[in-house]
Subunit: 342 residues, 2 copies
DNA sequence: TTGAAAGCGATACCAG
DNA sequence: CTGGTATCGCTTTCAA
C-alpha cells in the first residue's frame, strides 16, 4: 500500500494524506483522524526510498570501520561505541550505515558517502593527532563529529573527548585524601595530546596539595602491560618507594598489579593503585572483570553522546560546532584501600 | 553534479549518459569514452537515493541487533560475524544497515525494514529452536538467510549452519587414531538441535572403530565452565577414567582443563582434550589465546559466507533456498598429545 | 483546509 | 546507437 492507493481509498489527495500523517497543523482534525485510521487499517508505511529522494535526507548516519591488515579483528571498542550510538539513532529515526573497508579505501569510502548522498552525517572514531579524515570531511561538506581530538589540526571541527586532565586530577586527589604523599604517575607517551593533559591533571592535584612533584616518580612510555610492570618494579625498588600509583590506562595498571604481587605486597593495602581509561583499544581481552565492564559501558555512553551531538549538528548546520568535554565516569583500579595512615 | 547537468555538458540525453556509465552494450564506444571522461572530470556520482527509488533496490542489507536488557553488552559474536559479512557486502556494492533495538522491538524493526523498502535482505543471527523471526520474515516476503538452524520450524528457509556431526566425528576419530579407547563426551543439553547432531558424530566415530559406547562416559548439560569442570571431576574419579575428552564447546573444555589441573594431571600428556565450537556467545572473554582467535576467525568466515548466500538469494529469488552445511574449521583444544600408547 | 502539479535524480521502456 | 518520456513514491510549493 502506497500513498497514492491510500489517498484513493480515502478520496483525498496525496497531499492531504501526507500532511495528515506527518503532523502538519493545517489539517482538519477530523480528516486527520480518518487518515491515520485508514493508514493503520491498510498498514501503510511510507517508502523510505521515495521519502529520502523527496526530502534530500537519507535519515542514516555513516560509520566507516577500517579493517587493518595487521589487526584482522574488529576492535571491540567499535562494538560498544556503536551499540551506544545505535540506540540513540533509533530513537531519532535514524539508521546506521556501516561500511567495513580496507585501510587504504577509507577516505574514498567517506567521499562515496558524501557525494552519493548516502548518509546525512558520519562519526569519526579513533583520530590520530593529525588525522587526514578531518579536513577531508570538512572539504566534502558533510556533517561529522569526531570521537576524540586531533590536536595538531587547527581548523575547528566538532568533537567529543574525555576530560583527561580532570579525570587524572580527581584520581590523584583521591589518593592524596587517603594520606598518600609519594604518588607515582605512569603515563602514556607524552608526545600524545591526551597524555600531556593527563600529566597536567596529576601535577595540578599535587600543586593544590602543596606537594612538589618528584620527577623520579613520573614515567612516560608506550601503554602496555610490560611497560607498566617494568616501571612499577623500578619504582618499588627505590629507597623511598611510592605508596600509590596513578596509571594513565588500564593496561598500565595491570602491569603495576603484577609488579606489586611479585614484590609480595598487597594491592589496596600496602600499595594503592588507581587508573583512568576511556578506550579499550589497548585491551583486547581483559576478561570479564567489573573494571573492564565499567570501561565498556563508558565507551558505550560516549557513543551515545557522540550520536546526539551529530544529530544536533545535522539539524542545525549553522549552530556552533558541537565540541564537548565529556566527563567520563572515573574508571578506577581494584582497590585504593584505606591509605597509609589507617 | 547530477545526471541532468552532466548530460547537458555533453549534449547528450540523460538516457545515453546513464547507459554509458552503467555499461549497457548498446552505446557507441566513442561516446562511452566521452561520457566516462566527462564524468570523471566533473566528479559525477549517481545519487543513491534517486537510484534506489528508480531501481526499487536499496543496495543495502539489514542486520538487526537486539540489545538485551539482561546482557547490556553487544555480544562479540556480532562484531566478528559482521566484519566478515561487511567485507563481502562492500565487494558487491552493498551497504550494511545496522539497527540496534530493544528486544521487544525486534520484530517490528524487521517489518519496518521490509515495508518501507529500506533493505534488500536481512540476516538472522542466533536463532532459537522455534524462532519467531523466521516465519515472520517469510510472511514479510523479504529475502533472508539464517545463521544456524531452528530445527522446530518445518517450512523451508535459507540457512547456513556448521556440520556439527562431522566436526565431532572428526574430533573423536582423531582421538581414536591416537590410541584412546575410553573417550568421554561432554555435550550441551541434548534437547538442543545441534547437541543431538554432535552426539551422533561421537557415536558414529565409536561405531566405525567398533568401540561400544559407554553411557557412563557421556554427559549432557548446559554449556558452562563449572558444568565442564564438575563433569570432568566425576569422570576422572572413576575407577577406569577416560584418557581423553571430547567437549562440545570451548567453555566446557575450559572446565575440563581446570579439573585436569586440579587432579595434578597434565593436559596433552596424561589426558587429551579436544573440543569443537562455532560460536562465542558463551565465551564473552576467553582471553587472547590462539584458540579463541581461531574461533573468532571462524565466526568471521561464517559471516562472509552468509553474506554471499544472501546476495545470491537476492539476485535469484526463484532459485532454490540457499541451505548450506558449513564445514567450519575444527577448532581444537590445547594439545591432544601423543596418545596413551606413546 | 484541501488539491493540482512540480520537483527529487535516477532507470527503463518504446520509438526512431 | 540515441532520445523522449513515463515511472519510482513521496514532499512541497502555489492556488483555490
Amino acid at each position: 500500500m502506497n500513498l497514492k492507493e491510500l489517498s484513493k481509498q480515502l478520496n483525498l489527495s496525496q497531499t492531504t494524506v501526507s500532511r495528515a500523517l506527518n503532523g502538519y497543523p493545517e489539517v482538519n482534525e477530523a480528516t486527520r483522524k480518518r487518515v491515520t485510521e485508514a493508514a493503520r487499517k491498510y498498514r501503510y508505511r511510507p517508502n523510505v526510498r521515495a521519502r529520502t529522494l523527496a526530502t534530500g535526507k537519507s535519515m542514516s548516519i555513516g560509520h566507516i570501520i577500517p579493517m587493518s591488515k595487521q589487526n584482522e579483528l574488529v576492535n571491540m571498542v567499535f562494538s560498544d561505541f556503536i551499540a551506544g550510538a545505535g540506540l540513540v539513532y533509533a530513537d531519532h529515526g535514524y539508521n546506521m550505515t556501516l561500511t567495513i573497508v580496507k585501510d587504504d579505501d577509507e577516505l574514498e569510502a567517506y567521499r562515496g558517502f558524501a557525494e552519493r548522498g548516502a548518509v546525512d552525517g558520519v562519526i569519526v572514531q579513533a583520530p590520530t593527532r593529525e588525522d587526514r579524515r578531518i579536513s577531508f570531511l570538512a572539504d566534502l561538506d558533510i556533517p561529522f563529529v569526531v570521537h576524540g581530538r586531533a590536536s595538531q589540526i587547527r581548523a575547528p571541527y566538532g568533537w567529543l573527548d574525555v576530560n583527561n586532565k580532570r579525570a587524572i586530577q580527581t584520581a590523584t586527589k583521591h589518593l592524596l585524601s587517603l594520606g598518600h604523599h609519594r604518588i607515582a604517575m605512569l603515563n602514556g607517551l607524552e608526545t600524545l595530546d591526551f597524555a600531556v593533559r593527563r600529566r597536567d591533571g596529576y601535577l595540578a592535584a599535587l600543586r593544590e596539595a602543596n606537594i612538589p612533584p618528584d620527577d623520579s616518580l613520573m614515567r612516560s612510555n608506550d601503554m602496555s602491560e610490560p611497560n607498566g610492570y617494568e616501571a612499577a618494579m623500578e619504582l618499588l625498588a627505590l629507597k623511598a618507594p611510592p605508596t600509590a600509583f596513578v596509571a594513565s590506562s588500564m593496561i598500565l595498571a595491570l602491569g603495576v598489579k603484577r609488579a606489586i604481587e611479585e614484590n609480595n605486597l598487597e594491592m589496596g593495602k600496602d600499595v594503592s593503585v588507581i587508573c583512568f581509561d576511556d578506550d579499550i583499544s589497548y585491551l583486547p581481552n581483559a576478561g570479564d572483570t567489573p573494571l573492564f565492564t565499567a570501561l565498556r559501558s563508558s565507551v558505550r555512553a560516549a557513543g551515545a553522546r557522540c550520536a546526539s551531538l551529530l544529530i544536533e549538528r545535522i539539524n542545525k548546520p549553522d549552530a556552533p560546532l558541537p565540541n564537548e568535554l565529556w566527563e567520563a565516569e572515573l574508571v578506577h583500579g581494584a582497590s585504593t584501600g584505606p591509605g597509609p595512615n589507617a
